[in-house]
Every structure is written in C-alpha cells, then in structure tokens.
C-alpha cells in the first residue's frame, strides 16, 4: 500500500471511531439528562457540562479529520502535504473510545 492509501485508511478509521465516540457521548448525555430532570443539583448539572464539552471536542476532531475525506483532492497532494495530525488524532480517538466505553458501561450499568 502506498503512503497515500495508508494515510487515507487511517483517516477513515479515525473518522469512524470519532463517529462512534459521538454516538456514545450522545447516549451518555441522554442518560445524564434524564437523571437531571428528576434531580437538579450541581452534580447532575456538572455531568451535563462535562459530557457536552467532550462531545463538542469530539465533533471538532471528527470534522477536522473528515475534511481530508470531503475536500476534493484527486491527486492526494493535499493529503500528502498535511497528513501529520492524522496518526496522533487517531491515537487520541482510540483512547477516548476505550474511556467512553468504560464510562458508558458504568453509567448504563
């Protein structure tokens, strides 16, 4: 596989994981919101703020990664030039995915 195809593949994977993260976050947000409706307190509000911010962060990261896919770049020259962030972002996304799975499991029991 050429460097370009390799990078593109990692990009797709990173975006997919980003989307999964976003779905998990929305699930968490929904859960915390339901509890917030019944119990209004600093704790429940805090959970909502926390989750919303991490969700926004994930949306930004995923959009950034998706730009490489969305923008027309037939020769792949753009991608080749500025592909550096993809690997670290992929790594971050994977760690976030694992972290979110843990949090999701303990929230939903």
């Amino acid at each position: 596989m050429s460097v370009l195809e390799n990078v593109l593949l990692l990009n797709y994977v990173a975006v997919s994981i980003g989307i999964i993260n976003i779905c998990l976050m929305m699930g968490l947000l929904y859960s915390y919101f339901r509890t917030y409706k019944e119990i209004k307190s600093a704790f429940t509000v805090g959970l909502l703020y926390f989750t919303s911010l991490i969700l926004i962060q994930n949306i930004f990261t995923t959009l950034y990664l998706a730009v490489f896919i969305i923008l027309p770049d037939p020769q792949g020259s753009l991608l080749l030039e500025i592909h550096e962030p993809i690997k670290p972002l992929l790594f971050i996304n994977i760690i976030q995915l694992v972290a979110l799975i843990f949090l999701y499991k303990i929230t939903k029991d």
Partner: protein, 92 residues
C-alpha cells in the same frame, strides 16, 4: 460513601428509582417482588437495582434465595443524612 451515593442516585441511569428503593427499605425490609409492587416498577428492573445496591454495600439481604428480604446496610443507615441531602434536590 457520599460520592458513591451521588453516583448511584444522580449519575448512573435509573438512579432516582434506586433512591425510592432506599427510602422504602428505610421504612422496613422488603423483598424484590414487594418493592416492585410498592413502587410500581418492573420486577427485573428492581432485581437489577437491588443487585447494584448490594454490590455497593448500600443494602444487604437475608441470604435465602427465594423471597430474599433486603435491608439497608449499617453503612447506609449511618449515612442516611447524606442520602437525604441528595434526595432533597429532587424536583417537585
């Protein structure tokens, strides 16, 4: 205990139902079926919440499998004011 209770009631899902179970058991011991009736909750849901509360040492049980009675644990009765503090934030 305080942080744990906050999480069990205000963090994880189904928390408010767990709080209702705790309040019921504060009146007197009940078994799972009775709690489901009293609180108008699904039996399996109640069983699940009881299991989580038991794992976290909030409640204990009489030991026999069928119709097992649940009680608040000593740790919980000692910390009941913490629980009330959390529950006071309940809307309406």
């Amino acid at each position: 205990m305080k942080k744990l209770l906050w999480w069990l009631i205000a963090g994880s899902s189904g928390g408010p139902n767990r709080a209702k179970i705790i309040m019921k058991l504060n009146e007197r011991p009940f078994n799972a079926h009775q709690l489901a009736e009293e609180l108008d909750l699904n039996y399996k849901t109640v069983r699940h919440h009881l299991k989580v509360l038991d794992e976290n040492n909030v409640i204990t049980s009489s030991g026999q499998k069928y119709g097992e009675l649940y009680f608040l644990s000593d740790k919980m009765t000692d910390n009941y004011d913490v629980f009330n503090e959390i529950w006071d934030k309940l809307k309406g």
